[in-house]
Amino acid sequence: MRIEKNTSLLPEVKRGRKVQILIDGQPIEAFEGESVAAAMMAAGLRVFRITAKHKTPRGMYCGMGVCFECLVTVNGVRNVRACLTPVADGMMVETREEGMA
């Protein structure tokens, strides 16, 4: 969910241009300046990948590129950290790719 209110801790912002990205083929709304992880969280999507060994779901954890839990496939490139990747119009993101090198 995006914060639209204007408060003292979180003054209102004007986001970047509205774009659309595809998560596993499903379009979601995003704004330029957002990370793929942020856009997914805003859309209520929590599962970013499925682990190789026990096939368990994982999502965003550290948010700053350290933990590698938010790995997704972006435009065919595997193992991309969603938290460090800015959105771009028409970007194709896949989350359910299994396995990691």
Binding site: I3, P11, F48
Partner: protein
């Protein structure tokens, strides 16, 4: 080999690194500042995305803006979006080779001095269910809230230790989330009593704390002292949080357990110094839990046991942004002084000025370290079924088996189980594996050089074979 030479390389462009770079460059030191992220500021002064605009800025945002503006007015080289993947001693030379991965920076830099300002990351805190989507670190929550204006969840439990919890909870509430509780794991606040004069001297921090706390009270979010999350439950994502009171040994009191329905758990159990570069270089480290774990040993000028290698800010022990900025200035003065760019008298005068400011911040950091807890203090919240190494999906039971097979160090556990061999290169599991080895072998202390920490080798982050081959090609030219 194409190498570009600088007198000083500052690695990390947060509060500590920016101050170090400004101080040295203003004195005329030929300086390069390198940062992994697209823009300066680090995590603390992380700016809003370039595409966002805002009419009003918060106090911290203004402070960061001012520092970054200062940086842009100084003559020095800056590379962002640039990963330092290795630092090596130059043969027969007292200089350092720094290997970079980036689109615009050279592949290799030679520097006479290195200031590491690589910051810290959230302390991983393994508890049953902590790998479920929806369990996020305090840092991740603040990045979403402050720099993306996105609410990480609608029904949120904030759990951990330290003043950061208040900030996270207050931001969540203002953003529109229901904070179903704040669990502060630490109890003996009396440990703060000897530090009262120090605390009372930090009026701006008291004001901030009161502001956050009143927001939490107004929202009727229960603030529980001596409590922690003990389990996250859910199918594909977190649906319930189990919280419990902690006893004196920091184990959950089973009879106190409560189940709360949530969609998000924010876990903020302190920070861990990002010490991988100082370890790769071979600087001596000591274990200081109140500073977040293994920290480099330093002299008064922030120099480590390796000549001309300095570490400043949270990378050298958790102390916060204000301390980090002062340490950065001290190291900047030291480098400039050594190169003769500041007269001896000027350097001494600068030191004198900084030292009294430093002492105050150091004492405040020491208080926080003594009063509050970190992930490494709460090993008892994991069970044998808890995943310890998130990347390789290694449970505590598997580490116990490795110890039963004879493993006596984290490096031996790594060889037997693959814990620490995944993408994060051990950053998420190292201190927990160390705790597990100590618990299962009955050792009370495990030093870094006795196998208490993983050995750090380049590349510092996973790189594709293609990227490495390209780097090797350019290096051999």
């Amino acid at each position: 080999m194409k190498e570009v030479h600088y007198e000083l390389a500052v690695i990390g462009g947060g509060p500590a690194g920016i101050e170090a770079a400004i101080t040295a460059a203003e004195a005329g030191v030929n300086t390069v500042l390198i940062d992994r992220y697209p823009r300066p500021g680090g995590q603390y002064y992380k700016e809003l995305p370039m595409q966002f605009s805002v009419h009003h800025r918060t106090k911290a945002e203004t402070e960061g803006d001012m520092l970054i503006r200062l940086l842009s007015g100084v003559e020095l080289t800056q590379y962002f979006n640039t990963l330092v993947w290795g630092i090596f001693p130059k043969e027969n030379d007292n200089r350092w080779l720094i290997a970079l991965a980036s689109n615009d920076a050279p592949k290799l830099i030679v520097a006479d001095s290195v200031i590491l300002a690589t910051g810290a990351y959230d302390s991983p805190m393994p508890f049953p269910g902590w790998t479920l989507p929806g369990v996020i670190s305090a840092g991740a929550a603040l990045i979403l809230l402050k720099t993306q204006r996105i609410l990480p969840g609608t029904r949120v439990l904030v759990t951990g230790s330290g003043p950061l919890l208040l900030s996270v909870a207050a931001h969540l509430i203002e953003g529109g989330a229901e904070v179903v509780g704040v669990c502060e794991a630490a109890r003996p606040f009396w440990r703060a009593i000897p530090y009262l004069p120090t605390i009372l001297g930090q009026t701006h921090r008291i004001e901030e704390g009161i502001k956050y706390f009143s927001t939490i009270l107004k929202a009727h979010s229960p603030y529980r002292i001596g409590w922690s999350v003990v389990e996250a439950r859910g199918k594909d994502k977190v649906e319930e949080a189990v919280i419990a009171r902690l006893d004196k040994s920091l184990s959950p009191v089973l009879s106190s357990k409560q189940v709360i329905s949530v969609d998000t758990i924010v876990s903020g159990y302190g920070l861990v110094p990002n010490n991988y570069l100082s370890r790769m270089i071979g600087c001596k480290h000591s274990y200081l839990p109140e500073k977040g774990g293994f920290v480099p040993e330093r002299d008064d000028t922030m120099q480590t046991s390796m000549p001309n290698v300095y570490v400043v800010g949270d990378a050298a022990g958790i102390g916060g942004a204000e301390l980090a900025r002062l340490e950065g200035r001290v190291a900047g003065v030291a480098v400039a002084g050594r190169l003769g760019r500041l007269g001896h008298a000027t350097a001494q005068w600068e030191y004198g000025k900084l030292r009294s400011l430093l002492r105050r911040q150091q004492r405040f950091a020491e208080m926080l370290g003594k009063v509050f807890l970190r992930g490494l203090d709460l090993f008892n919240l994991s069970t044998d079924d808890t995943i310890i190494c998130r990347c390789e999906e290694i449970t505590r039971r598997e580490i116990r088996s490795a110890v039963e097979m004879g493993a006596r160090s984290v490096t031996e556990v790594k060889m037997l189980t693959r814990a620490g061999m995944g993408n994060c290169q051990g950053r998420m599991c190292e201190l927990s594996v160390r705790n597990a080895v100590m618990a299962f072998t009955g050792q009370s202390f495990l030093d870094m050089d006795k196998g208490g920490a993983y050995s750090i080798r380049p590349p510092l982050e996973p790189m594709t074979v293609k990227e490495l081959a390209k780097a090797a090609e350019e290096l051999s030219e």
